[in-house]
Each structure stands twice: as structure tokens, then as C-alpha cells.
Symmetry: C2
Subunit: 504 residues, 2 copies
Amino acid sequence: MKVEKTAVSPTRQEDYPEWYQQVIKAADLAENSPVRGCMVIKPWGYALWENIKNVLDGMFKETGVKNAYFPLFIPKRFLEKEAQHVEGFAKECAVVTHHRLEATEDGGLVPAGPLDEPLIVRPTSETIIGDSFSRWVASHRDLPLLINQWCNVVRWEMRTRMFMRTSEFLWQEGHTAHATAQEAMERTLQMLHIYGRFVENYLALPVIQGEKSESERFPGAVNTYCLEAMMQDRKALQAGTSHFLGQNFAKASEIKYQSAEEKEEYAWTTSWGVSTRLIGAVIMAHSDDNGLVLPPKIASAHVALLPIVKKADDRAMVMEFTQAMARELEGRKYHGQSIVVEVDDRDTGGKNWDWIKKGVPLRVEIGPRDIAQNAVFVGRRDRSPREKESVSRDVFVGSIVSVLDEIQQNLFNRALDFRQEHTVAIGSRDDFYAFFTPKDQQKPEIHGGFALSHWCGNARCETKIKDDLSVTIRCIPFDGDKEGGPCIVCGQRSDKPVLFAKAY
Amino acid sequence: MKVEKTAVSPTRQEDYPEWYQQVIKAADLAENSPVRGCMVIKPWGYALWENIKNVLDGMFKETGVKNAYFPLFIPKRFLEKEAQHVEGFAKECAVVTHHRLEATEDGGLVPAGPLDEPLIVRPTSETIIGDSFSRWVASHRDLPLLINQWCNVVRWEMRTRMFMRTSEFLWQEGHTAHATAQEAMERTLQMLHIYGRFVENYLALPVIQGEKSESERFPGAVNTYCLEAMMQDRKALQAGTSHFLGQNFAKASEIKYQSAEEKEEYAWTTSWGVSTRLIGAVIMAHSDDNGLVLPPKIASAHVALLPIVKKADDRAMVMEFTQAMARELEGRKYHGQSIVVEVDDRDTGGKNWDWIKKGVPLRVEIGPRDIAQNAVFVGRRDRSPREKESVSRDVFVGSIVSVLDEIQQNLFNRALDFRQEHTVAIGSRDDFYAFFTPKDQQKPEIHGGFALSHWCGNARCETKIKDDLSVTIRCIPFDGDKEGGPCIVCGQRSDKPVLFAKAY
């Protein structure tokens, strides 16, 4: 078999984790920084985040959510207010202890001005936002309170991976307060479903929505709901979470209101968030051995125009044709946004491949011979790099929106097919262990997938599987099989299968 | 004289600094947080920042600037790279020294996991971005590099004032690298002029653009340029700065490129920023004794619809009329954005005044009698609260864009008139001292203004005036009088007058 040379090395099959790093590099999305665990998001990567932000922000606002901004620093005593919360976040946080640097005699600088109380760089903002909510809420008329914040958070991480797990990351955190448990629960699920729609319709990633098991809950939550997507190494990636916090944080932060009956009550709160991790999900789910593949609806650019000039005499004519086409394309709308065009006028040979690696949905080569026929030479990122076709310029411009939609749909279908192919209902313990065990332990190839198997609900059985196989319960799905069966570990009765997988 | 009761107390005349705090409170823009020196930006205030961001971001991108994101933390050694820079920022910075909290025997939590090298929470990002630039720039073909970042920064402040000076604030910082000094200087001024256009056309604030004196330069810059606006207490507020950094940071961070002649050269860099301080400027420049006054082009909402229901029977009809009008208004565009409408359907008496205090440009009262005439009762925030008029509903909807533009223009004209009234050319030292000295030292009323006076260029004279009067050179204006004259302090010859003022 002839092995095709690929633009990214190693390939997914050869070394999936390293392939991921190389795609990020080849696409110029981000780089590791000299600051431990922190990354630099480069323009091509940051544009993805801007697009994700714009769409989600609009979806939030349509439901009445308003944006605000709360302090980066959380006083230690605030974090301590909720017992499970501090337990969950104190182990990995950046602690500010001083407020200046002072010169030493040998010319160095040392921390000076010790603070009376250490400050924690926010790992999440329930406690600091709860403090504001305690002042903003007095009467049932102040509820519901629907607030969101776009910001950076820090969770000290020892083993990091760009976009997936970094000490600092960007996210949004929504925080709401309600008069009743029911309303808070409805909001928790409403936001989960918004994430679901966004991830499926914009990131082209099918997700399974469900409830977390107790051990996987957000520290301090009564219940956590999540979206799980399958990556190309068949692992699960949690693409967003929404938490029903009950009255835990309302009691910790004294968020109280006077009811219509003039009784003092604690509010019911929720929180929900997605992060730059979504970019990691897009990379891992859609990219191939030639680099990044971007879903058109959130792509940093939709089309790259590549003027090909071999003779200096042709330059002016080719550039004029290219620029006119760029302007016309930019005037068209794709799902409410202007089409984003990159014109790459460098005089280098490899520019077609540069744009393949960067994952732009459409590449358009424009040379004198194409222009003579009023045509362009088009490559689509959802097809092989070799598969290019000559298209009339006007047809290309006229049909770009539907072609982008087609690419978007193809990526979704491909990801859905892949997930279905690697999702199995497993009834026996032996089959379960075999499914999640690589054949050759020395070179653990891509294996496993999503297993729908029964679980009795006991944390002991969950832990056993985690210890033996590094497999966790990703969620108890809302949809799907409702038939009972014996727990995969202990054989006790379970109501319905849950979703097991290895996970990021 | 009859004193009109005002919605905000104290008035500007009575106590300007306290009036400012009370406007922020009355308009529900922000609140002090329990975290030392940090503020919470509430939804009505944050919407202003979102609008400022959107417009500026578009203006930057039109000039080829791309957004990216760099780490929050700066290793101590990075800050130390540029001598003047560390000098300027080491004295007031948040220092992270530990990466977890650990339980003590008595149940408390103490910082643990000391870091090998302390991290500074970024006060500005020249050094950390310079580190990336040193990798991104290799050849003259990589230049210019035009990057911007929207983020939070921290400068430890002992005396804080919401929006004007807080330990944490939000801003954008642009960072560019160029092959030549001339190109870098052109970019420095290009961005300054963009700020100028934005502040004048969107914030309705006339500005004076110019160069800073040496003592007021950004630490590490070769030259700093700024915009200065006059507040209603006649003090100056610096509304933005743009720095020509020469090769100082390129040398400190090793940003080198190979020239077309294959010689290794240091790049020339710039940086430029505006912050949430612009919101402070808007509040201080336009608001009155009844609260906030928002320029329509960046207003959190353009119009508040206030249905007035006195009889329960009327409710449905009034609400239907109101909602239909809201939808129609929202369908109209104001400078490319949809008109933002707030419908306040609360059954409370004071809602007209609530919206006056919040500074919404247009208030529309809608009662059954108005509806019977297909009319609405309109108040404009650039006029007295008592001046309201009945307008045909259709005329109101049809003319809202031009009315908003008129309000925008009125605010600008008013601010310009005020500044001209309080800007004087002063030639004698005695007059200068008198101008900047309040008549009654015990109760320093609003006094002074902008003085255009000669300065010899010597830091000694500048310091003398600063020590005596707390007056500083705000800038050496680009425009204006070019006539020479004697220095206001020492009498030595100066080329042209400079701008003196007390400042925020």
C-alpha cells in the first residue's frame, strides 16, 4: 500500500497526542508560553474564540441574560464559605500574597508589602458573585437575576495541554438566582440545551447530554449536567457544564429575598460555563493528517484567495481580479456575519498547503489562465487536498453560502457517523474490559469508544472501573435506552444504561 | 433664588467627587467590591464597555490589527528586562507566590506550594508580548506585526475611585513591531488619532492631542502621546495613550529580524491603550445633578418605554401598544447597530426618574390617553426633566435616528463650549498661580481649567509647578499657538505654549 505523505507528522494513528500539538502548530493557533502552564492564543486561534463568543453571547442575551464583570481576586475567606467548593479548588490555585516588588542590596527584586489576607486568582466566581448577589437581591421582584461574565480564570495545572487544560484559560460563567427550585432547575437545563444547540449547529459536533454521577459533580453543586462529545481517538470531551446549585451557595453567601408572602427565603442558584476548551474539541474532532479543519460557522476566515503570479507582467491584472472578488465576497452574508476573506499575495510556492493546514473551508487559486476563462480553481477542506475543480467565478461567488453550509453539514455528519461507529451497548463485564483495553500495552493505539452499560449507582463500582481502566461515567444520558439491566461491575439492578468512556 | 430639587445629592457644585460616586450609584453602573481596590461592573455599566469595545475593535481591525491573547502572569525576570519599566511597575503589582492553599491543624487555610519564581499579575504586557514577538519575527517579511489584546490588568492602588483608578481594570493594549522607526512612529500616531476620532465622535468628548513631557512618559517609552479631555470640575482626564517605544523593548526582548539586505536588526515597537477609565470620562463630562447622561452612540440602551397603567383594565392594551412599538424600534438601525429598547413595565411611580438617573437618551411615557391619540410623551436626556412633549407615535419612530444624532451632537457641543470657556492663555506667573488656586482653601470649589502657558522644557520648572499647585503638563499640543514666549516659571525662552491642568 502506498502511504500518502501528509502535511502533519505524526499522523493520528501514529501518535494522537503529538498529532494534536502538531496541528496547533501547523495551523498557527497557539503556542506554549514561558509562563508555567499558560498558553498564548495567536490571532488565527483567537478569532475562533471571538466567533464562539459572539454567537453564544447573542444566544444568552436572547434569554434575558446580561453581562457584567466581577473582580479577578477572591479573598481567601470567600472561597472558604462553601466546604466542598474550597475542597475542590484550594488544591490548585494561584495565591497572591504581596503587592509590590522591592529591590534587594544585590540588585534583585523580592516580593514585599505582604497582604493581610491572601487573595486567590479566581478559579470560578460563585463566591465573589454570590457576594454581589447578596446585595442585589432583596425582594422576589429582583428575581430572577440572570448574569454572565466573559473572563479569564486560573486553575494551577501540573500537566497541561494547549486549549484542553491550561493554568489560565478563557471562559464564560453564567450565574443566576431564582425564587424557586423549579425555576432554577429549568434555567440549568435551558442553558445546557443552548450549549447543546451551539456545539451541534456551530461546532458541528454531536453531543450527548445528561447528568453527572455524584463523584463528577462541580464542587458545591446539587447536580451537574453536561455535554459529551467524541474525539477522533474515541475519548470523550466534556464540552460544557451547567450546575444546579440548590441553596448551597445562597446559604454560603446569604442571598436572601423577601417572598410575595413577606417571608425571608434563600434564593436558588445556578452556574454554567464553556471555555476555550471548545477550541480543543473542534481541533480534535474535525482535523485530519493534513492539519486543522474548521467548521465554516466559526471559522477564523471562510475563504482564502491565492493569487498565483508566475510572470511579473501578470501581477497587476491577477491582483485586481483577486481584490475585486474579495470585496464582492466580503459583501455577502453568511449566517448574519460578513464572509471573511484572506488574500494571500505572498510569492511563495507552499501557500496552498499553508491554508490547508490552517483549515480554511475554501481555497481559491487564481492564475492568469483561470482569469482568461473568468474561472477560479477551488479546493474544499472537507475533501482531499488533491480534489480541486475549476468553477466559474460568478458561480463560486453566487453559491458560496450554500457551499459553506454543505461543508458544515458534512463535518457534522462525519463526526456523527464516527461516534455511532464507536458507540456500543455492552452487557458483560468481560466485554467491557476488553473494549477499553488496548491490544498492545506497549503501544496503546486508539481504541475503545463510548460504552452504554448498566451501573447500579454505587460509587464503589464507579471507582473500580476508574481504577482498573481509567474509564469514567461521562453522564447518565437524558435520551436513549431506558431498559433495566445488571450493573457491569456488581450485577445489581440498574434502571438504564449510562455512558462510560475514557475522557479528557 | 429657588433651588430645584435634584435627583442626585450632593450636586456637582456642592461636592464634585461625591457627586461622581452618587451618579454611579444612582445609575446602577458599578459598585465597590470587598476585594481591596477592585470594582464590580454592573450590567448597565458593562454594556457601555461592550459598546466601546465593539466600535474600537472594528476601527483597529480596519487598519490590519488582529486580536490575540497572552498570559495573565509575567515571570519576575521578564519585568526586570527593561530598567525603567520595572522601576515604573514594580512598586504597585500583585505578586503570586504560591500555587495552592493547605489546611492547617486549626482548620484554617494557608498558602502552600511556593513558586520557584514569583509571578506578577500583568500591569501591562510589553514584556510578555515581547517574548512572543521575539519568536514570531524572524524576517522583514514578518513585519509589521499588528496585535491587540482585550484583557484585565492589575496595578495595586491605595486610593481608588470607580472607573478612574482601580487595582484591576479592563482595557485593550495594542502592540506592534515594525522594520523602521518611521513606520513605528506613524503607527503610534495613527492609533492616537483613532482614539481621538472615537472619543470625539462616540463619547462626544472633545480632546486635545499632543506629546507628553519626559516625566510623564510611559516607563520605557521613547515618547508618549495622549488625548486630554476636560471634566466638569475643569480637571483634565487622559483618555488614551500611544507610545513610541523605539528599540528599547525590542532590545530587552530580543525582537530581531533579518532585513532585505540580510542584516540582523532590532525591530521598532509601539504600544497603545484605552481602558474602562473612558467610562469614568463619560460620566464626569456629561452627567448632571439628575444623574448620568449617556451619549447615544455608546448608550447601554437608546430608549426606555414606560407604559403607564392606572386601571387594570387598560393593562393589556397599553402593553400591546408598547411591545409593538418596541419591536418596531428594535428593527431600526442606529449607526449600524440595532436600536436598544428597554421596556420598564414595573408598577411603580418613580420609573421616569429611574431612567433619568440611568441616563438613557430618550424616555417615552405611554398611557391610555396617549394611545387614544396614537401619540407618546417623550423626554430627552439632553433637556430638562420637566421638558417633555407629546409626539405622534409614528413621527417618533420615524425620526428616532435623527433625534439620537442631535442629542449626540448637543452633548459634544456642550462639552466643547465648556472646555473653551475654561481654557485660557496665561502669560504671567502670578496669573497662573491665581488661576490654579481656589479662593477658599477650606472648601476648594471647582476652579482652574486648562492653561496654555510657556514652559522652557526643563524638568525643574515642571516639578516646581507640580509641587506648588498639583498642576502638571498634560501635553505639548500638536495644534494651536506656535508663538514663542517666556517660561511661566523661569522666564527662559520657549517655542510654544503647553497645556497645564490639574488632572485625574
